[in-house]
């Protein structure tokens, strides 16, 4: 029987430890994991809990990240609560299994501590790993700080395990900036947290011998399409369940989560769309610029990256004149993911907003308050002049001659 921990009302945790605590409180049955910077803290925290008697489940330290996710899939199919954590190269290595997990409709929670993808090798935070997994069929939530990492991990179990959802869920947080930065967190008590997440209710489990099931069948051209369409539908429909879980969580904690978080958007002329810790910095800058320079600035963040909140994005940005979509990932010959997805939503609503794609923060390059101020000022100039001041894709804080693409 796992021992319970007495937690203070306010604690000082970094994002990794916060995620580990959430895993402990959810009473995960099997954690199958492999270490990689900067996610290692999650599994180390969890491992220490195990060694000190706070965890009743199994903890398998496998021999690679591909094995980590394979272990999660096998254990999930065996009918219990499953989780792991990874970053960057490890995420890339487990990529094929991510698709397999979602295709098999298995609830698994993956804490992704976002880190740049090599080459060159880099251990700092950026979103290239998150972007790699875009099409993998997982529900994907983004935490901007340690509190949210903790909250969203608890919610992830609840969302994914619902029988009418049955999808694996990623909870992203910025590598180092969130994962390694100690912050104030208001945790739930062990009892409250577990009561919220609830018991795991198996479905189609390998360990129900009275009902043998086959997982992982092959489908050829006569069946594949229908199965993938069904999976896509489940992902799209999960929005309703995500909203319900957010609402339930708000009742217990007072903390309100939305699939699109928006700050000062009611009267915004210009807006930044971003993910991760950038959102918090942008909020701060937007407030300052409103006061100091009268720029009606707002911030929009897709809290739920997948299923992409197409309607909510469209709605939130409906009256904005200039938008800066900030992508923290090497764009690989095209415009950034947020830019592409936001503009498609805007376009469908007939928006005439000028949208700029800002590539920034690659490999953990710091995004400064001044840089964001410049972005808002540029957006404001665009809005007022009705013309984009440069090309569509800009690079923020890049040393060397100016690079810009697409017009």
């Amino acid at each position: 029987m796992a021992e319970k921990m007495e937690l203070d009302k306010v604690v000082v945790w970094d994002g990794n430890y916060a995620a580990a605590q959430a895993l402990r409180q959810a009473q995960v049955d099997v954690v199958s994991a492999y270490p990689i910077t900067p996610s290692t803290g999650v599994v180390e925290g969890y491992g220490k809990f195990l060694s000190d008697g706070y965890v009743d489940g199994e903890f398998i330290m496998v021999e690679s990240e591909h094995a980590a996710m394979s272990g999660c899939v096998g254990a999930a199919a065996a009918g219990g609560r499953v989780a792991t954590a990874t970053s960057s190269q490890g995420f890339a290595l487990m990529a094929e299994v991510l698709y397999q997990a979602s295709g098999m409709r298995l609830p698994i929670v993956l804490c992704v501590v976002n880190r740049a993808l090599a080459s060159p090798l880099n251990v700092r935070g950026d979103h290239s790993d998150m972007y790699l997994g875009r099409d993998s069929g997982w529900i994907q939530l983004d935490a901007f700080n340690a509190q949210e990492a903790y909250d969203l991990v608890l919610m992830a179990f609840k969302i994914g395990e619902k029988h009418n959802v049955r999808l694996p869920v990623m909870v992203h947080q910025d590598g180092f900036i969130t994962s390694h930065t100690a912050q104030n967190v208001h945790p739930l008590s062990d009892d409250e947290a577990y009561a919220f997440v609830g018991d795991y209710k198996p479905l189609d489990e390998l360990l129900d011998f009275s009902r043998p099931v086959t997982y992982g069948a092959q489908t050829e051209e006569d069946w594949h399409y229908e199965h993938k369409a069904k999976q896509h539908k489940a992902l799209i429909d999960s929005r309703v369940e995500i909203d319900a879980v957010f609402a339930e969580f708000e009742k217990i904690t007072g903390r309100k989560y939305k699939r699109v978080e928006s700050y000062m958007m009611d009267d915004a002329d210009v807006a930044i769309v971003a993910l991760g810790t950038t959102v918090e910095t942008a909020k701060m800058v937007a407030e300052e610029l409103r006061k100091e320079e009268g720029i009606k600035a707002g911030v929009v963040a897709p809290r739920v990256f997948r299923p992409f909140p197409f309607d909510a994005i469209k709605e939130t940005l409906a009256n904005v004149k200039a938008v800066g979509c900030m992508d923290r990932s090497a764009p690989g010959g095209a415009l950034g993911a947020l830019y592409n997805e936001v503009t498609s939503a805007l376009h469908s609503g007939g928006s005439t907003a000028l949208v700029t794609n800002y590539i920034y923060g690659l490999g953990g390059r710091d995004l400064t308050v001044d840089a964001i101020k410049d972005i808002y000022r540029e957006l404001d100039k665009n809005a007022k002049s009705g013309k984009r001041s440069g090309k569509i894709q800009q690079f923020v804080s890049l040393r060397g001659p100016k690079l810009e693409y697409f017009e």
Partner: protein, 318 residues
Amino acid sequence: MSTIKKIRNLKDLSTSNDRFEGAHLLCPGCAHSIIVRELMNCTDDNLVISSNTGCLEVCTAVYPYTSWDTSWIHIGFENAATSIASAEAMYKARKRKGTLKDPDAPVKFVAFGGDGSTYDIGFQWLSGAVERGHDFTYICLDNEVYANTGGQRSGSTPLGASTTTAAAGRVSYGKKQMKKDLVGIMAAHGAPYVAQLAPNKWKDMIKKMQTALATEGPVFINAISACTTEWKFNPKDTISITDLATDSLVFPLYEIINGTELNITYRPKNVIPVKDYLGAQGRFRHLFKPENAHILEQWQKNVDAQWEYLQRREEARV
């Protein structure tokens, strides 16, 4: 409560109720299903089975059909060992927490993989699962080739075999490298039990499979699976080709306990020449050309050396 099924003879075994159903897509004469049936019939325990991508998996679970009467999971090419090991871990966790539907029902965890997925692409996964000591049995269905994708060479393909990616041609006699000794490698992991077996010697196979399932911890089994399609022989000859394999000592049958106690479990009354085994298969036909005579000689030397090694190790108990 798990008990070892008492099987005194083949008639006893024949009272087993097969849990591997027909109308699968395996080639007529395929030895994979003979091995799978023998495994499933050697025990009455519940089974949870995983398979790597390969002939067995692809031919027994194509939507909307399954040939498995027990719970079965396929994830990908490499990870049957990991998926069954983690299913076993989940079983342990749920048993401890009291969330199993039938906690007293005996169950065994078994993974199947072809040689391609076991010797090559899934080796790390197998190695890790064995190193961690999960309680499961891994059976490699060894047909010495990537059969499911049309016959490409694998780490298990033996010397001189012609495969599509290491073909016999005007300037080549086929595969130049030796077959990996995976049984030895897995014994060196310290697994409590590893064995090599063949479906023609059903008694030896059943005994080893029962030992495997009864052994607590990780077990590795290499099972020769004669492939009518890629070894190129008439489907009806699957068992007789396997007889040639075991009687020529190309496929010696033995077991290693705790990595050190090697027991040879089959000593043919008459050891037949290796070239009789090779000559019965189309994949070695080119070795009988005069310019390849040295390969045939090398083959016999290698098999003799392997047999000598096994005997010495059996005696030395190392």
